[in-house]
């Protein structure tokens, strides 16, 4: 199995739909420990991305991802704009000129995206951020690839690890972003950025691995 350009666009559209569907939920999570705009801001960004989809069809995968990144950077604002924007820009740089992705290509893209988020946000694992969901997802993906797993199996395992990482943010005390002002009071809440990160990689697993549910 390889991922074609159309599949990448379908992934972005599936993630957009997931953001719209979960807009209120993400905003509620963010109201508990942040400033209550994560769902609204992400939805604004991905609606702008949706409007650009018609001009993406004849581009290579790197260019598609970079367009998504630039659109997010210029429409989302807050912290999630630069973080998700950087994720897509870096993943796009790692896939420049590609017309399809193998599992190894996707590992490289996800690695570049996660490295970009870490570089931009300077978060470490355990800070209660999207990194806590993305890092185990990347790690599991790499392990699957080195074991010789199929692409579909690896995608599902990666999304599952992402979900575990997201859930593991609940007891953490935030050390980055606006939630850090709450100190101990931030424990007991699931991180909104980790939650949207899980939606992102779950959408990839569902669309690319034809996984139900």
């Amino acid at each position: 199995m390889t991922v074609q350009r159309d599949d990448v666009i379908a992934w972005i559209q599936a993630f957009t739909a997931a953001i719209t569907e979960n807009k209120g939920y993400l905003t509620q999570l963010d109201s508990d420990i942040g400033d209550g705009d994560h769902g609204t801001n992400m939805d604004r960004g991905f609606q702008a991305v949706s409007a650009k989809v018609p001009e993406l069809a004849d581009k290579d995968i790197g260019a598609i991802l970079k367009t998504v990144g630039m659109t997010l950077v210029s429409t989302v604002g807050g912290a999630s704009g630069p973080l998700y924007g950087t994720f897509f820009l870096q993943a796009g740089s790692a896939t420049t000129g590609k017309l399809e992705l193998s599992l190894a290509d996707w590992v490289a893209a996800l690695q570049a995206g996660v490295d970009g988020v870490i570089m931009r946000g300077k978060a470490s694992p355990g800070d209660k951020t999207m990194i806590d969901a993305l890092t185990p997802a990347l790690q599991t993906l790499k392990e699957s690839a080195s074991k010789g797993s199929g692409f579909a199996v690896a995608l599902r395992a990666s999304a599952d690890a992402c979900e575990q990482g997201m859930l593991a943010t609940i007891p953490l005390v935030a050390r980055k972003g606006r939630a850090s002002y709450l100190g101990e009071r931030s424990a007991g809440h699931q991180d909104p950025g980790a939650t949207s990160s899980h939606l992102l990689l779950r959408a990839a697993a569902q669309v690319w691995a034809n996984q139900e549910g």
Binding site: G36, D37, G77, G78, A79, G81, S180, Y181
Partner: protein, 333 residues
């Protein structure tokens, strides 16, 4: 929610259009990406000053664009950082060849967006420096938080730094003045009521009629403590004591005292607070060399105030006194 609005999503754009209409002698508003820029710029050989942040804090920052203060300001959605494309366009518009200084309040979103903008501007050959304001003593400054928030000092830093830039000092010298104001300044705020974000439609937090929040942030972030309402004298003491201890301010110091309204508090109450502040500082032989009283960094319709003190020297005083002509602050011309 009772507000003078048409549609919640149109508030920021309509306010920008109004500013362009009302202050055409001072500023121009550019759209897509949105920023407010001083007319007649860029001034050749002068460091360009850019600030920005979420909307809802008016007159900060757009009201401080003009001669002697900012060259441009980028407004975000309400309480949401503006985006790098706005900042890049504004940076290019105000670069008069001497570089551009970004004045950034210490919030994660603002920092990340301004960093991306600085990277993009540098890639286009513009020299950019950034100074981050972080004066809110309500927040513990530690490795385990995003650090102290940038609040009241930002207004004063924009004025004083603007005067230094007007004298055509170098980018490094202008940035150093801004850092000095931030290093010498401390702020603490309190709320009597929550604010209501137009698009949220309901108050950001619940605060009972007889309670107040000490150490509130300008977006309604929780403060240090919630307690029963006290007198203006007691409240002033609770705000100013941690400020004085933190720098620390000492006997014989000369200060700029800034009593700021958060949007829903009348000027007469700010004067009551100032009266108490003058008594406390007088008792400690700290001299109020200059003052600013009014609502300059607000939190929409929140009732409450903040107190900012900046330790001043002759250089900072002369820069504070220098002429300024913006819609929000105007003197000496």
């Amino acid at each position: 929610m009772k507000k003078l609005i048409n549609k919640p999503e149109d508030v920021v754009k309509e306010a920008l259009q109004a500013m362009a209409l009302a202050h055409a002698d001072l500023i121009k508003v550019c759209y897509n990406p949105d920023y407010i820029v001083r007319v007649g710029g860029p001034v050749q050989g002068k460091v360009g000053l850019l600030s920005g942040g979420g909307s809802g804090h008016e007159p900060m920052h757009g009201g401080f664009v003009g001669m002697g203060m900012l060259d441009a300001a980028c407004p975000g959605a309400v309480f949401t950082s503006p985006t790098p494309d706005q900042m890049l366009a504004a940076t290019k518009a105000i670069d008069g060849g001497a570089g551009v200084l970004h004045i950034v309040k210490n919030y994660t979103g603002d920092i990340l967006n301004f960093e991306m903008a600085a990277d993009l501007a540098k890639a286009e050959g513009i020299t950019v420096e950034a100074v981050i304001t972080n004066d809110d003593v309500a927040v513990k400054d530690s490795l385990y938080t995003a650090g102290r928030r940038g609040v009241g000092v930002t207004v004063l830093a924009e004025k004083i730094t603007g005067a230094a830039a007007e004298q055509k000092r170098s980018l490094k010298a202008v940035a150093d003045i801004c850092r000095k104001v931030n290093a010498n300044g401390r702020t603490m705020g309190m709320a009597l009521t929550s604010c209501t974000v137009p698009q949220a439609g309901k108050p950001t937090f619940e605060l009972p009629e007889d309670e107040m929040e000490i150490g509130i942030g300008i977006h309604g972030e929780p403060g240090r403590a919630r307690m029963k309402l006290k007198t203006a004298a007691e409240i002033t003491e609770m705000l100013v004591s941690p400020i004085l201890e933190d720098l620390p301010f000492k006997t014989g110091d000369s200060v700029l005292a800034f009593v700021n309204g958060l949007g829903g508090t009348p000027l007469i109450e700010l004067y009551v607070i100032y009266n108490e502040l003058a008594k406390i500082l007088g008792g400690r032989q700290i001299k109020i060399a200059r003052n600013l009283i009014g609502s300059y960094i607000t939190s929409l319709d929140m009732a409450g105030c903040s107190i900012t003190l900046v330790k001043m020297d002759d250089e900072l005083l002369s820069l504070w006194d220098a002429p300024v002509k913006t819609s929000g602050l105007r003197w000496g011309i």
